[in-house]
Assembly symmetry: C2
Homo-oligomer: 203 residues x 2
DNA sequence: AATAGACTAAAATACCAAATTAGTCAAAAG
DNA sequence: CTTTTGACTAATTTGGTATTTTAGTCTATT
C-alpha cells in the first residue's frame, strides 16, 4: 500500500461519513440503510464494509467527527490567548455555539429515541468529558499561577471543574429540547463573566 | 357537601396518589394498572374515577406533588434568611438535594422511555421553571438593594437567571443518568460560592 | 487494494386473534 | 347528596406467525 493509497482511503472514508451524516439528519438513523449510504457515495453496499465493519461503526464515526470538530474549535479559540479569564470565556462560548450548530443531528438521535443510539451518543459525549475537565482545570490553575485568579486548592478546583462540565452537558441536552435558544447567548456570556469575577475576587 | 367531606375527599385523593407513587416507582407507569392502584387503597377501580378522570391525571398529580414538595422545601430553606448570598446558596443546594431524593421516580419515568410520560414530565418541570426564575430574580435584585451584590441592570439579571435555571434543569437530567453523584455535592457548593462572589465583586 | 453481486442470518414490519386494561354508566349503599 | 361498585364496552397491549427488509459475509472480479 502506497502513501497515496492511504490518502485516497482516508478520502473515501470521509465521503462515506459525510454522506451518512446527511442521511442520518434527513431520515434518522434507523430509516437510513447501508444501501442508502452506499448509493449516496456511488458504490455498492459491500464496499462500505471494506471501510467500516458495521453500521454502528459508521454512526460512531459520524458522531465522533462532530465531537472532534467541537474540541478543535475550542482549542483554536483559546490557544493564542494569554489571559485565563478570556480563555475560560472563549471555552464556554465556543462550546455553546458549536453545540448549537450541531443541534440538528443531536435532535435526530435523541428524539428518534432508540436506546441503542442514545447510549452510544452519551458514551461519546462522556469521552470528551475528560478532555473538558483537563482543559478547564489547566486554565484555572494557570490563572491562579498568573495571579489572575485567587488561590484555591487543587482538590477544590477539581470539584468545581467537574460540576462545571456537568452543567455544560446539562445545557447541551437542554438545547436539544428548547425551541428557541438565540436569546440565551447573552445570558450565557453574563453568567460566565460573573463566575470569572468570582474566581478573581472575594473571601 | 360539608367541610368535613371536603377534608375526607382530600384525604382519599392523597391516599390514591401515595399508593400510585409507590407502585409507579416499583413497577413503572405502564405496568401499574388502575386496578393495582385501586387494590392498594382498598377500593374498586371505578371509585378512582370519582377522584381522577384518567390514569394520566393520576400520573400528573403524582409528579406535580413532587414538584410542589421541592418548591416548598426551597421556600422553607430561604424564608427566614436575610442575606441574599445565603438565600442563593440555600436555593441551589436545597434544589440539588431534593432532586436527588426524588431520583427513583424520575429514573422510572425517563428510563421507561415512553414518550408520552416523558413529555408530561417535562411539561411539569417547565411549570416550575417560571417559579424558579421569579424567585431567583427577586433574591438577586434584593441583594442588589441591600448592597450585598454589585449593581446590574434588571435585563441583565433576567438573562443571567434564565441561564441559571437552564443549567439547574440540565443538572437534574444529568443526575438521572449518572450513577454516583454523592461527590458532586461539594463541587456544587464551591461553584455557588464562586458565583456569589462574582455577584459581589469585580468590574 | 478496492469493488460488487449473490447470499444468509437477523431484524423490522405486517397482520391477526386473544387478552388486558382504561374508562363509562346505571344502580346500589351509606 | 356523596361515594362506591359491578357489569359493560372500547381501546390498547400482547403473543404468535408469516413476510419483507436490511445488516453483514463470502467469493469472484478488476
Amino acid at each position: 500500500m502506497k502513501t497515496t493509497d492511504l490518502i485516497k482511503e482516508e478520502q473515501t472514508r470521509k465521503e462515506i461519513i459525510t454522506a451518512a451524516q446527511e442521511l442520518f439528519q434527513k431520515y434518522g438513523i434507523d430509516k437510513t440503510t447501508m444501501d442508502d449510504i452506499a448509493d449516496a457515495v456511488g458504490k455498492g453496499k459491500s464496499s462500505l464494509y471494506y471501510y467500516y465493519k458495521s453500521k454502528e461503526e459508521v454512526f460512531y464515526a459520524v458522531v465522533n467527527k462532530e465531537k472532534d470538530e467541537i474540541m478543535h474549535s475550542i482549542s483554536d479559540a483559546i490557544k493564542d490567548i494569554d489571559s485565563a479569564s478570556e480563555q475560560l470565556k472563549n471555552f464556554f462560548l465556543t462550546h455553546f455555539n458549536q453545540v448549537r450548530k450541531k443541534l440538528n443531528l443531536y435532535s435526530v438521535i435523541i428524539k428518534g429515541n432508540a436506546k441503542k443510539h442514545i447510549d452510544l451518543f452519551y458514551k461519546i459525549q462522556k469521552e470528551s468529558l475528560d478532555w473538558q475537565i483537563t482543559m478547564l482545570k489547566n486554565i484555572i490553575l494557570n490563572g491562579i499561577k498568573n495571579r489572575e485568579f485567587k488561590k484555591i486548592k487543587e482538590k477544590e478546583c477539581e470539584a468545581i471543574v467537574s460540576v462545571l462540565v456537568m452543567m455544560l452537558q446539562g445545557m447541551d441536552s437542554n438545547l436539544v429540547f428548547a425551541k428557541d435558544n438565540s436569546q440565551n447567548m447573552i445570558g450565557v456570556e453574563k453568567v460566565i463573566e460573573v463566575f470569572i469575577n468570582g474566581l478573581k475576587y472575594g473571601r
